[in-house]
Protein backbone atom coordinates (compact mmCIF):
# COMPACT_ATOMS: atom_id res chain seq x y z
CA UNK A 1 0.00 0.00 0.00
CA UNK A 2 1.08 3.57 -0.57
CA UNK A 3 2.16 6.49 1.57
CA UNK A 4 -0.03 9.49 0.73
CA UNK A 5 0.49 13.07 1.84
CA UNK A 6 -2.85 14.85 2.23
CA UNK A 7 -2.60 18.64 2.33
CA UNK A 8 -5.77 20.59 3.13
CA UNK A 9 -6.57 23.28 5.66
CA UNK A 10 -10.12 22.09 6.30
CA UNK A 11 -10.20 19.61 9.17
CA UNK A 12 -13.41 17.87 8.14
CA UNK A 13 -12.13 17.24 4.62
CA UNK A 14 -8.92 15.81 6.01
CA UNK A 15 -10.98 13.59 8.34
CA UNK A 16 -13.11 12.26 5.49
CA UNK A 17 -10.36 11.62 2.96
CA UNK A 18 -8.05 10.18 5.60
CA UNK A 19 -10.78 7.81 6.77
CA UNK A 20 -11.50 6.60 3.26
CA UNK A 21 -7.90 6.11 2.19
CA UNK A 22 -6.80 4.57 5.48
CA UNK A 23 -9.61 2.03 5.12
CA UNK A 24 -8.01 1.03 1.82
CA UNK A 25 -4.78 0.37 3.66
CA UNK A 26 -2.82 3.47 2.70
CA UNK A 27 -0.57 5.31 5.12
CA UNK A 28 -1.71 8.91 5.41
CA UNK A 29 0.43 11.90 6.34
CA UNK A 30 -1.44 15.11 7.10
CA UNK A 31 -0.45 18.72 6.38
CA UNK A 32 -2.76 21.61 7.13
CA UNK A 33 -0.99 24.38 5.21
CA UNK A 34 1.26 24.81 2.19
CA UNK A 35 4.47 25.22 4.16
CA UNK A 36 3.86 22.06 6.15
CA UNK A 37 2.95 20.19 2.97
CA UNK A 38 6.25 21.13 1.34
CA UNK A 39 8.24 20.22 4.43
CA UNK A 40 6.53 16.85 4.87
CA UNK A 41 6.80 16.02 1.17
CA UNK A 42 10.56 16.64 1.36
CA UNK A 43 11.13 14.70 4.56
CA UNK A 44 8.72 11.76 4.18
CA UNK A 45 8.96 11.18 0.39
CA UNK A 46 5.33 10.10 -0.12
CA UNK A 47 4.19 8.01 -3.08
CA UNK A 48 1.47 10.56 -3.85
CA UNK A 49 0.46 14.06 -2.78
CA UNK A 50 -3.19 15.15 -2.60
CA UNK A 51 -2.88 18.92 -2.66
CA UNK A 52 -5.63 21.45 -2.01
CA UNK A 53 -5.35 24.67 -4.02
CA UNK A 54 -6.54 27.17 -1.41
CA UNK A 55 -4.31 26.88 1.65
CA UNK A 56 -2.66 29.30 4.07
CA UNK A 57 1.09 30.08 4.08
CA UNK A 58 1.59 28.80 0.50
CA UNK A 59 -1.17 27.94 -1.93
CA UNK A 60 -1.30 24.60 -3.73
CA UNK A 61 0.30 25.94 -6.90
CA UNK A 62 3.29 27.36 -5.04
CA UNK A 63 3.77 24.04 -3.27
CA UNK A 64 3.45 22.18 -6.56
CA UNK A 65 5.98 24.47 -8.22
CA UNK A 66 8.46 23.92 -5.39
CA UNK A 67 7.93 20.17 -5.45
CA UNK A 68 8.52 19.99 -9.17
CA UNK A 69 11.64 22.15 -8.98
CA UNK A 70 13.38 20.04 -6.33
CA UNK A 71 15.34 17.03 -7.52
CA UNK A 72 14.25 14.89 -4.57
CA UNK A 73 10.52 15.53 -4.97
CA UNK A 74 9.95 16.20 -8.66
CA UNK A 75 8.96 12.62 -9.44
CA UNK A 76 6.25 12.47 -6.74
CA UNK A 77 2.86 12.45 -8.46
CA UNK A 78 0.43 15.17 -7.38
CA UNK A 79 -3.38 15.24 -7.54
CA UNK A 80 -4.82 18.73 -7.08
CA UNK A 81 -8.03 19.22 -5.08
CA UNK A 82 -9.94 22.16 -6.46
CA UNK A 83 -13.28 23.69 -5.50
CA UNK A 84 -16.21 23.77 -7.90
CA UNK A 85 -16.19 27.00 -9.87
CA UNK A 86 -12.40 27.12 -9.86
CA UNK A 87 -11.97 24.67 -12.71
CA UNK A 88 -9.69 27.17 -14.42
CA UNK A 89 -7.19 26.25 -11.73
CA UNK A 90 -7.02 22.84 -13.31
CA UNK A 91 -5.19 24.25 -16.33
CA UNK A 92 -2.72 26.10 -14.12
CA UNK A 93 -2.22 22.87 -12.18
CA UNK A 94 -1.49 20.81 -15.28
CA UNK A 95 0.86 23.48 -16.61
CA UNK A 96 2.76 23.42 -13.32
CA UNK A 97 3.09 19.63 -13.41
CA UNK A 98 0.06 18.17 -11.63
CA UNK A 99 -0.82 14.60 -12.63
CA UNK A 100 -4.55 14.83 -12.11
CA UNK A 101 -7.23 16.82 -10.32
CA UNK A 102 -10.40 16.22 -8.33
CA UNK A 103 -13.17 18.79 -8.02
CA UNK A 104 -14.79 19.31 -4.61
CA UNK A 105 -17.39 18.22 -3.57
CA UNK A 106 -15.93 14.74 -3.98
CA UNK A 107 -17.29 11.57 -5.31
CA UNK A 108 -15.21 9.13 -3.30
CA UNK A 109 -15.32 6.35 -5.90
CA UNK A 110 -13.92 8.91 -8.36
CA UNK A 111 -11.24 10.11 -5.95
CA UNK A 112 -10.19 6.55 -5.20
CA UNK A 113 -10.13 5.66 -8.91
CA UNK A 114 -7.89 8.63 -9.64
CA UNK A 115 -5.59 7.83 -6.73
CA UNK A 116 -5.31 4.22 -7.90
CA UNK A 117 -4.67 5.29 -11.48
CA UNK A 118 -1.90 7.68 -10.51
CA UNK A 119 -0.36 5.17 -8.10
CA UNK A 120 -0.62 2.42 -10.72
CA UNK A 121 1.36 4.53 -13.19
CA UNK A 122 4.35 4.62 -10.86
Amino acid sequence: MARILLADDEAHIIRMVEFKLRNLGHEIIIASDGGEALEKATTTKPDLVLLDVMMPVMDGFQVLQQLKSQESTKSIPVIMLTARGQERDVLTGFETGADDYVVKPFSFPELIARVNRVLGKQ
Binding site: M16, P105, S107
Partner: protein
Amino acid sequence: MLIVIYAIVILQSLILLALLALIVRRIFLRFWIKYIEARKNYFTPMVLGLLDEPNNITSLSQKLRPFDRGLIEVLMLQQATEIKGQERTIMTTAFEKLGYVDSEKKNLESRWWWRRHDAAIKLGIMLSEEAVPTLIKAVNDPSEEVRLAAVRALGQTRYPQSITALFQVMEEREDWTADRVLEILVGLGDTHKEPVLSRLTLPMNPRVKVLLVQLCGLMKWSEAVPVLLPLLNDTDAEMRMSAARSVGSIGDATTAEHLTPILQDEQWEVRAQVAESLGLLQNDIAVEPLANFLSDDNWWVRYNAAKSLYQLGQDGISELQELRSSESKVVSGIAAQALAEGELGL
Protein backbone atom coordinates in the same frame (compact mmCIF):
# COMPACT_ATOMS: atom_id res chain seq x y z
CA MET B 1 -14.79 57.13 57.24
CA LEU B 2 -16.60 53.89 58.04
CA ILE B 3 -18.64 54.24 54.84
CA VAL B 4 -15.48 54.54 52.76
CA ILE B 5 -14.04 51.38 54.36
CA TYR B 6 -17.30 49.51 53.69
CA ALA B 7 -17.28 50.68 50.10
CA ILE B 8 -13.69 49.49 49.58
CA VAL B 9 -14.49 46.09 51.12
CA ILE B 10 -17.58 45.68 48.95
CA LEU B 11 -15.66 46.70 45.85
CA GLN B 12 -12.85 44.25 46.64
CA SER B 13 -15.38 41.46 47.21
CA LEU B 14 -17.05 42.23 43.89
CA ILE B 15 -13.72 42.14 42.05
CA LEU B 16 -12.85 38.87 43.80
CA LEU B 17 -16.21 37.38 42.83
CA ALA B 18 -15.82 38.48 39.24
CA LEU B 19 -12.34 36.93 39.11
CA LEU B 20 -13.65 33.73 40.62
CA ALA B 21 -16.47 33.62 38.08
CA LEU B 22 -13.98 34.09 35.25
CA ILE B 23 -11.77 31.27 36.54
CA VAL B 24 -14.73 28.93 36.97
CA ARG B 25 -15.98 29.81 33.50
CA ARG B 26 -12.57 29.14 32.01
CA ILE B 27 -12.28 25.78 33.72
CA PHE B 28 -15.79 24.88 32.66
CA LEU B 29 -15.11 25.90 29.04
CA ARG B 30 -11.90 23.88 28.97
CA PHE B 31 -13.72 20.76 30.12
CA TRP B 32 -16.66 21.47 27.85
CA ILE B 33 -14.44 21.79 24.77
CA LYS B 34 -12.60 18.59 25.75
CA TYR B 35 -15.91 16.82 26.20
CA ILE B 36 -17.19 17.99 22.82
CA GLU B 37 -13.93 16.95 21.15
CA ALA B 38 -14.15 13.53 22.79
CA ARG B 39 -17.75 13.04 21.63
CA LYS B 40 -16.81 14.27 18.15
CA ASN B 41 -13.95 11.78 17.96
CA TYR B 42 -16.30 9.07 19.15
CA PHE B 43 -18.93 9.76 16.52
CA THR B 44 -16.73 10.76 13.58
CA PRO B 45 -15.87 7.19 12.48
CA MET B 46 -19.55 6.25 12.70
CA VAL B 47 -20.63 9.18 10.57
CA LEU B 48 -17.85 8.57 8.06
CA GLY B 49 -18.71 4.88 8.12
CA LEU B 50 -22.21 5.66 6.88
CA LEU B 51 -20.78 6.08 3.40
CA ASP B 52 -19.37 2.55 3.33
CA GLU B 53 -22.03 0.88 5.39
CA PRO B 54 -25.39 2.70 5.30
CA ASN B 55 -26.80 0.18 7.79
CA ASN B 56 -24.64 1.88 10.43
CA ILE B 57 -27.60 4.24 10.82
CA THR B 58 -29.21 1.72 13.16
CA SER B 59 -26.24 1.61 15.52
CA LEU B 60 -25.88 5.39 15.33
CA SER B 61 -29.54 6.03 16.15
CA GLN B 62 -29.35 3.80 19.21
CA LYS B 63 -26.57 5.91 20.69
CA LEU B 64 -28.26 9.26 20.24
CA ARG B 65 -28.60 11.47 23.29
CA PRO B 66 -30.27 14.86 22.95
CA PHE B 67 -26.92 16.69 23.09
CA ASP B 68 -25.27 14.23 20.71
CA ARG B 69 -28.01 14.74 18.15
CA GLY B 70 -26.80 18.29 17.50
CA LEU B 71 -23.19 17.19 17.31
CA ILE B 72 -23.89 14.37 14.88
CA GLU B 73 -26.02 16.68 12.76
CA VAL B 74 -23.08 19.08 12.43
CA LEU B 75 -20.72 16.24 11.48
CA MET B 76 -23.19 14.89 8.94
CA LEU B 77 -23.85 18.31 7.43
CA GLN B 78 -20.11 18.94 7.05
CA GLN B 79 -19.72 15.57 5.41
CA ALA B 80 -22.70 16.05 3.11
CA THR B 81 -21.40 19.36 1.76
CA GLU B 82 -18.14 17.76 0.64
CA ILE B 83 -19.45 14.76 -1.27
CA LYS B 84 -21.56 14.08 -4.32
CA GLY B 85 -23.03 11.22 -6.30
CA GLN B 86 -24.33 8.03 -4.77
CA GLU B 87 -22.79 8.84 -1.39
CA ARG B 88 -24.78 12.06 -1.26
CA THR B 89 -27.98 10.02 -1.60
CA ILE B 90 -26.84 7.84 1.29
CA MET B 91 -26.43 10.97 3.42
CA THR B 92 -29.93 12.18 2.50
CA THR B 93 -31.39 8.84 3.58
CA ALA B 94 -29.40 9.06 6.82
CA PHE B 95 -30.75 12.55 7.54
CA GLU B 96 -34.27 11.27 6.98
CA LYS B 97 -33.90 8.09 9.02
CA LEU B 98 -32.24 9.80 11.96
CA GLY B 99 -35.08 12.32 12.12
CA TYR B 100 -33.01 15.40 11.23
CA VAL B 101 -35.23 16.31 8.29
CA ASP B 102 -38.32 16.21 10.49
CA SER B 103 -36.74 18.29 13.25
CA GLU B 104 -35.50 20.92 10.78
CA LYS B 105 -38.94 21.03 9.18
CA LYS B 106 -40.28 21.84 12.64
CA ASN B 107 -37.58 24.46 13.12
CA LEU B 108 -38.65 26.03 9.85
CA GLU B 109 -41.92 26.85 11.56
CA SER B 110 -40.28 28.29 14.67
CA ARG B 111 -41.30 31.75 15.88
CA TRP B 112 -37.63 32.86 15.79
CA TRP B 113 -36.46 33.93 12.37
CA TRP B 114 -32.83 32.82 12.91
CA ARG B 115 -34.01 29.30 13.70
CA ARG B 116 -36.08 29.24 10.53
CA HIS B 117 -33.11 30.61 8.60
CA ASP B 118 -30.75 27.91 9.94
CA ALA B 119 -33.35 25.23 9.26
CA ALA B 120 -33.75 26.33 5.63
CA ILE B 121 -29.98 26.25 5.11
CA LYS B 122 -29.70 22.79 6.68
CA LEU B 123 -32.63 21.42 4.67
CA GLY B 124 -30.88 22.71 1.53
CA ILE B 125 -27.88 20.55 2.45
CA MET B 126 -29.97 17.51 3.42
CA LEU B 127 -31.58 17.43 -0.06
CA SER B 128 -34.62 15.54 1.17
CA GLU B 129 -37.70 15.50 -1.04
CA GLU B 130 -39.77 15.34 2.17
CA ALA B 131 -38.71 18.90 2.98
CA VAL B 132 -39.76 20.45 -0.34
CA PRO B 133 -43.38 21.37 0.63
CA THR B 134 -42.18 23.04 3.85
CA LEU B 135 -39.49 24.95 1.94
CA ILE B 136 -42.05 26.08 -0.63
CA LYS B 137 -44.11 27.50 2.24
CA ALA B 138 -41.03 29.23 3.64
CA VAL B 139 -40.56 31.13 0.39
CA ASN B 140 -43.30 33.45 1.63
CA ASP B 141 -41.77 33.83 5.08
CA PRO B 142 -41.99 37.34 6.56
CA SER B 143 -38.21 37.43 7.00
CA GLU B 144 -36.14 38.24 3.93
CA GLU B 145 -33.22 36.10 5.17
CA VAL B 146 -35.48 33.07 5.56
CA ARG B 147 -37.05 33.60 2.13
CA LEU B 148 -33.64 33.79 0.52
CA ALA B 149 -32.40 30.68 2.35
CA ALA B 150 -35.57 28.80 1.36
CA VAL B 151 -35.21 29.80 -2.30
CA ARG B 152 -31.57 28.68 -2.28
CA ALA B 153 -32.47 25.43 -0.56
CA LEU B 154 -35.16 24.69 -3.16
CA GLY B 155 -32.60 25.31 -5.89
CA GLN B 156 -30.16 22.93 -4.22
CA THR B 157 -32.71 20.13 -3.99
CA ARG B 158 -33.31 20.21 -7.79
CA TYR B 159 -36.56 18.26 -7.57
CA PRO B 160 -39.03 19.08 -10.38
CA GLN B 161 -41.54 20.42 -7.84
CA SER B 162 -38.81 22.69 -6.41
CA ILE B 163 -38.12 24.17 -9.84
CA THR B 164 -41.86 24.69 -10.44
CA ALA B 165 -42.03 26.44 -7.08
CA LEU B 166 -39.12 28.69 -8.03
CA PHE B 167 -40.95 29.76 -11.20
CA GLN B 168 -44.02 30.51 -9.13
CA VAL B 169 -41.95 32.62 -6.75
CA MET B 170 -40.62 34.58 -9.68
CA GLU B 171 -44.13 35.29 -10.88
CA GLU B 172 -45.73 36.07 -7.56
CA ARG B 173 -43.17 38.17 -5.74
CA GLU B 174 -42.50 41.72 -6.77
CA ASP B 175 -39.31 42.17 -4.69
CA TRP B 176 -35.71 41.04 -5.13
CA THR B 177 -36.68 37.38 -5.01
CA ALA B 178 -37.20 37.01 -8.77
CA ASP B 179 -33.67 38.22 -9.53
CA ARG B 180 -32.27 35.96 -6.84
CA VAL B 181 -34.14 33.00 -8.30
CA LEU B 182 -32.57 33.78 -11.68
CA GLU B 183 -29.09 33.54 -10.10
CA ILE B 184 -30.05 30.23 -8.55
CA LEU B 185 -31.40 28.89 -11.85
CA VAL B 186 -28.12 29.84 -13.55
CA GLY B 187 -26.28 27.88 -10.88
CA LEU B 188 -28.44 24.82 -11.49
CA GLY B 189 -27.14 24.28 -15.01
CA ASP B 190 -29.23 22.49 -17.62
CA THR B 191 -31.55 20.57 -15.31
CA HIS B 192 -34.39 23.06 -15.78
CA LYS B 193 -33.94 23.84 -19.49
CA GLU B 194 -37.13 22.12 -20.61
CA PRO B 195 -39.42 23.80 -18.03
CA VAL B 196 -37.94 27.23 -18.83
CA LEU B 197 -38.42 26.83 -22.57
CA SER B 198 -41.99 25.61 -22.23
CA ARG B 199 -42.79 28.43 -19.78
CA LEU B 200 -41.55 31.00 -22.26
CA THR B 201 -44.31 30.04 -24.69
CA LEU B 202 -47.02 30.73 -22.08
CA PRO B 203 -48.45 34.10 -21.08
CA MET B 204 -46.72 35.37 -17.96
CA ASN B 205 -45.61 38.40 -16.00
CA PRO B 206 -43.44 40.39 -18.50
CA ARG B 207 -40.75 41.08 -15.88
CA VAL B 208 -40.34 37.36 -15.25
CA LYS B 209 -40.37 36.62 -18.97
CA VAL B 210 -37.50 39.08 -19.45
CA LEU B 211 -35.55 37.26 -16.72
CA LEU B 212 -36.15 33.87 -18.34
CA VAL B 213 -35.08 35.27 -21.72
CA GLN B 214 -31.88 36.50 -20.07
CA LEU B 215 -31.44 33.06 -18.52
CA CYS B 216 -31.51 31.42 -21.97
CA GLY B 217 -28.69 33.71 -23.07
CA LEU B 218 -26.64 33.19 -19.92
CA MET B 219 -26.95 29.43 -20.30
CA LYS B 220 -26.34 29.62 -24.09
CA TRP B 221 -29.24 27.30 -24.81
CA SER B 222 -29.39 26.96 -28.59
CA GLU B 223 -32.78 25.22 -28.23
CA ALA B 224 -34.15 28.57 -27.04
CA VAL B 225 -33.56 30.32 -30.40
CA PRO B 226 -37.00 29.49 -31.92
CA VAL B 227 -38.65 30.90 -28.77
CA LEU B 228 -36.43 33.99 -28.68
CA LEU B 229 -36.68 35.09 -32.32
CA PRO B 230 -40.38 36.13 -32.17
CA LEU B 231 -39.56 38.15 -29.03
CA LEU B 232 -37.29 40.40 -31.11
CA ASN B 233 -40.54 42.02 -32.31
CA ASP B 234 -42.25 42.15 -28.92
CA THR B 235 -44.10 45.33 -27.95
CA ASP B 236 -41.94 45.74 -24.85
CA ALA B 237 -38.54 47.32 -25.57
CA GLU B 238 -36.86 45.58 -22.63
CA MET B 239 -38.04 42.24 -23.97
CA ARG B 240 -36.68 43.05 -27.47
CA MET B 241 -33.37 44.10 -25.95
CA SER B 242 -33.08 40.99 -23.75
CA ALA B 243 -33.99 38.72 -26.64
CA ALA B 244 -31.35 40.38 -28.84
CA ARG B 245 -28.74 40.01 -26.10
CA SER B 246 -29.55 36.34 -25.57
CA VAL B 247 -29.58 35.55 -29.29
CA GLY B 248 -26.12 37.13 -29.49
CA SER B 249 -24.84 35.17 -26.47
CA ILE B 250 -26.11 31.87 -27.87
CA GLY B 251 -24.02 32.63 -30.96
CA ASP B 252 -25.91 30.82 -33.72
CA ALA B 253 -24.61 32.61 -36.85
CA THR B 254 -27.75 31.82 -38.84
CA THR B 255 -29.80 34.09 -36.53
CA ALA B 256 -27.98 37.19 -37.85
CA GLU B 257 -30.55 37.55 -40.63
CA HIS B 258 -33.30 37.85 -37.99
CA LEU B 259 -31.36 40.44 -36.03
CA THR B 260 -30.36 42.82 -38.82
CA PRO B 261 -33.92 44.17 -39.42
CA ILE B 262 -34.12 45.02 -35.69
CA LEU B 263 -31.32 47.55 -36.25
CA GLN B 264 -34.20 49.77 -37.37
CA ASP B 265 -35.86 49.62 -33.94
CA GLU B 266 -37.25 52.93 -32.70
CA GLN B 267 -35.49 52.57 -29.29
CA TRP B 268 -31.76 53.30 -29.35
CA GLU B 269 -31.15 50.83 -26.49
CA VAL B 270 -32.50 48.01 -28.66
CA ARG B 271 -30.49 49.14 -31.70
CA ALA B 272 -27.31 49.31 -29.59
CA GLN B 273 -27.88 45.81 -28.26
CA VAL B 274 -28.61 44.39 -31.70
CA ALA B 275 -25.43 46.02 -33.04
CA GLU B 276 -23.42 44.39 -30.23
CA SER B 277 -25.02 40.97 -30.72
CA LEU B 278 -24.33 41.01 -34.46
CA GLY B 279 -20.63 41.23 -33.65
CA LEU B 280 -20.90 38.06 -31.56
CA LEU B 281 -22.70 36.11 -34.27
CA GLN B 282 -19.78 36.27 -36.70
CA ASN B 283 -21.86 36.34 -39.86
CA ASP B 284 -20.66 38.48 -42.78
CA ILE B 285 -24.20 39.35 -43.83
CA ALA B 286 -24.15 41.84 -40.94
CA VAL B 287 -21.28 43.90 -42.40
CA GLU B 288 -23.35 46.15 -44.64
CA PRO B 289 -26.24 46.77 -42.20
CA LEU B 290 -23.77 47.56 -39.42
CA ALA B 291 -21.83 49.95 -41.65
CA ASN B 292 -25.09 51.83 -42.29
CA PHE B 293 -25.52 52.39 -38.57
CA LEU B 294 -22.21 54.15 -38.11
CA SER B 295 -24.22 57.31 -38.75
CA ASP B 296 -26.97 56.55 -36.21
CA ASP B 297 -28.18 59.46 -34.07
CA ASN B 298 -27.08 57.69 -30.92
CA TRP B 299 -23.40 57.37 -29.97
CA TRP B 300 -23.82 53.93 -28.36
CA VAL B 301 -25.41 52.51 -31.49
CA ARG B 302 -22.58 53.92 -33.64
CA TYR B 303 -19.93 52.67 -31.22
CA ASN B 304 -21.37 49.12 -30.92
CA ALA B 305 -21.86 48.89 -34.68
CA ALA B 306 -18.24 49.93 -35.33
CA LYS B 307 -16.91 47.58 -32.66
CA SER B 308 -18.92 44.70 -34.07
CA LEU B 309 -17.61 45.41 -37.56
CA TYR B 310 -14.08 44.98 -36.19
CA GLN B 311 -15.11 41.73 -34.50
CA LEU B 312 -16.45 40.37 -37.78
CA GLY B 313 -12.91 40.04 -39.10
CA GLN B 314 -11.36 41.00 -42.41
CA ASP B 315 -14.56 42.09 -44.21
CA GLY B 316 -15.65 44.27 -41.30
CA ILE B 317 -12.17 45.74 -40.83
CA SER B 318 -11.92 46.61 -44.54
CA GLU B 319 -15.29 48.33 -44.27
CA LEU B 320 -14.09 50.33 -41.27
CA GLN B 321 -10.87 51.34 -43.09
CA GLU B 322 -12.95 52.62 -45.96
CA LEU B 323 -15.34 54.48 -43.65
CA ARG B 324 -12.41 56.09 -41.86
CA SER B 325 -12.10 58.35 -44.90
CA SER B 326 -15.82 59.14 -44.97
CA GLU B 327 -16.88 62.73 -45.51
CA SER B 328 -19.05 62.51 -42.42
CA LYS B 329 -16.94 63.30 -39.37
CA VAL B 330 -19.29 61.25 -37.20
CA VAL B 331 -18.75 58.14 -39.33
CA SER B 332 -15.01 58.61 -39.89
CA GLY B 333 -14.47 59.35 -36.19
CA ILE B 334 -16.20 56.23 -34.88
CA ALA B 335 -14.58 54.04 -37.57
CA ALA B 336 -11.13 55.36 -36.59
CA GLN B 337 -11.88 54.76 -32.90
CA ALA B 338 -13.00 51.16 -33.50
CA LEU B 339 -9.89 50.43 -35.59
CA ALA B 340 -7.57 51.96 -32.97
CA GLU B 341 -9.26 50.11 -30.10
CA GLY B 342 -9.25 46.86 -32.05
CA GLU B 343 -5.52 47.15 -32.78
CA LEU B 344 -4.89 47.72 -29.09
CA GLY B 345 -6.96 44.62 -28.28
CA LEU B 346 -9.55 46.58 -26.31
